[in-house]
Amino acid sequence: MTQQVKGAAMGEDVVLDVRNLTTSFRLAGKWHRAVREVSFTLRRNETLALVGESGCGKSVTALSVLGLIPTHNGKVEAEHIHFDGRDLTGLSDEEMREIRGNGISMIFQEPMTSLNPVLPIGFQVAESLKYHRKMNKSEANKAALDLLEQVKIPSAASRFKEYPHQFSGGMRQRVMIAMALACRPKIILADEPTTALDVTIQAQILSLLGELKRDTGMSMIFITHNLGVVAALADRVAVMYAGDIVEIADVNSLFARPTHPYTEALLRSIPRSDRDTKTLFSIPGQVPPISRMPEGCRYAARCDLARPVCRRLDPALHPIEPGATHQVACWVRGGHDLAAIEERADA
């Protein structure tokens, strides 16, 4: 299995292709875009990390792909979201439900509250197998027990009928992972799955996810604000800021050459044990609120390198060198002819 998967990963088979995804929310009668024309692809057995600070649209992007944005005050538009040969944008609720939990599943941030407190955990893991795979009770229970063992719940058989309150946070997150894995989805959307856990447990969950990814050949979109996690787990990284992907690159390239000023600043804010620092670097200011997004580059107000043009024109993703897969949305650093652009902006 592993061999085969490796071979497949070499090829360019794309399991998810999102093109120009825009998600808007209505606030006080006006529509505001929380995610703006985001495009990315995810290959088989690849981990794409979505990185950014709170409110930058990471989770909204994931929820939009799954069609979980509430329709009464939210709106998802996209040129296409290709998954497994189908375009998810035009699917009915019924068709989307078949994909959720089955083709694409999600792991949530809060293991303490993401399990139903009144149902035994074994039941909750078996439930999606009964629902999607039409298994009978004994088949589903057996498969659920295998899953709980796969996510390394100690003495899973005897804990099968226990309730979530009898589990610790890390154990609950393992149960959540078992639930997400139940139907062998092609993609797992992990929305900050380790944020609510303490550091030693984080490491265990991350290595578990890495192992499962290797064994099952699934792809993963990993949402986090923790760049340490990114370095450990991701194959490719998309840095988001205020609803835009501002930089996308494979993980080595990004850490070797962080190009967008925001990415650079994020990396500088990581405390490092090999440097003697009295104060921790932090990025001044905060993400502008969704109802008052500035014109031009949304990071310009917090950027040391900002030029007048940055406040007027919105940069698009652009390869840092001709032909490079490392792309960045920045007028100053993005490999643009800055003089020509400024001239055009003035004209």
Partner: protein
């Protein structure tokens, strides 16, 4: 691994949280045990009524009319010479059946309505709850009176009438916790697993709001028995000669000054059952009170 495996099972390893709460409440509140005991005894007496009385509740004997309590007729006889004790036992059957059937159906229908309203929210919620509020604005007795007056007095119509009056309160009691529960993360997780709304409501919302509904059920069972008695008392209940507690009070009422036991015994029976159900309900309510609930 050490800290991760720290979630050792608590004392009662695989018992449901719900059951735990109920038992804890019962053990902390002695009166709820008393209520449960009284109610169970009454139910058993109703079930085994033919074994517990030597007389036929319908057999008239004009020679023994209006006799006081004696060794032969423990609670005396009524104007037709029928044994009050036997009628009380058989009357318990009718009163309990009417109460339980009407409240269980109201519980099912009302909870369904309330959960649907709370879960979907928006216009559906507004329309449903407006209708419920409209029904709720009538006192249970008046609404029951109207319905029985329209449909005619019979046991089935009495059940329909009581059930209809009890649906709105159950809808309300189910809706409120549903609104809280549907915002919780595990419902979002259910959606992310692709479950449809019906499954989420039945398997994930309902068990989380069930305790509230059950408490309400025990309190409303007492109300149903009272309403049945009231409607029977004013002659809109089950037709004579079938004994019901309310009907017996009304029959005895005609001779209440000379032969008070005719009304006193069925009155005491109603009092006892309503009292026991209220004790039970209070105990259950303590059990689900968030202040006494242990996370």
């Amino acid at each position: 691994m050490t800290s991760d495996a720290g979630g050792l099972p608590r004392a009662q390893a695989s018992r449901s949280l719900f059951l735990d709460q109920m038992l804890r409440a019962f053990s902390s509140n002695k009166l709820s045990w008393l209520g449960a005991a009284i109610f169970i005894i009454v139910v058993l007496m109703a079930v085994f009524a033919p074994l517990l009385s030597v007389h036929d509740p319908l057999a008239q004997n004009i020679l023994n009319r209006l006799e006081g309590p004696s060794a032969q007729f423990w609670m005396g006889t009524d104007a037709y010479g029928r044994d009050i004790y036997a009628r009380l036992l058989f009357g318990a059957r009718i009163s309990l059946i009417i109460g339980v059937v009407s409240i269980v159906s109201a519980m099912i229908i009302g909870s369904a309505i309330g959960i649907i309203a709370g879960y979907y929210g928006g216009k559906i919620d507004v329309v449903i709850m407006q209708i419920m509020d409209m029904l709720l604005s009538f006192p249970a007795l008046i609404l029951g009176l109207m319905i029985v007056a329209m449909l005619g007095p019979s046991m089935e119509n009495l059940i329909v009438a009581i059930a209809l009056t009890a649906i709105p309160p159950f809808a309300r009691i189910a809706r409120a916790p549903t609104i809280v529960v549907k915002e919780r993360d595990f419902i979002e997780a259910c959606r992310a697993l692709g479950y449809n709304d019906l499954r989420i409501m039945l398997l994930h919302v309902l068990p989380n709001v069930l305790s509230e509904i059950l408490v309400m059920g025990s309190l409303w069972l007492a109300t149903a028995i009272r309403v049945e008695a009231s409607l029977s008392f004013i002659g809109l209940g089950v037709k004579p000669p079938t004994p019901t507690w309310g009907g017996m009070i009304r029959e005895g009422f005609e001779n209440i000054l000379d032969n008070p036991w005719l009304s006193v015994f069925p009155g005491l029976a109603i009092l006892l059952v309503v009292f026991s159900l209220n004790l039970l309900g209070d105990g259950l309510r303590d059990a689900i009170d968030p202040k006494t609930r242990v996370e």
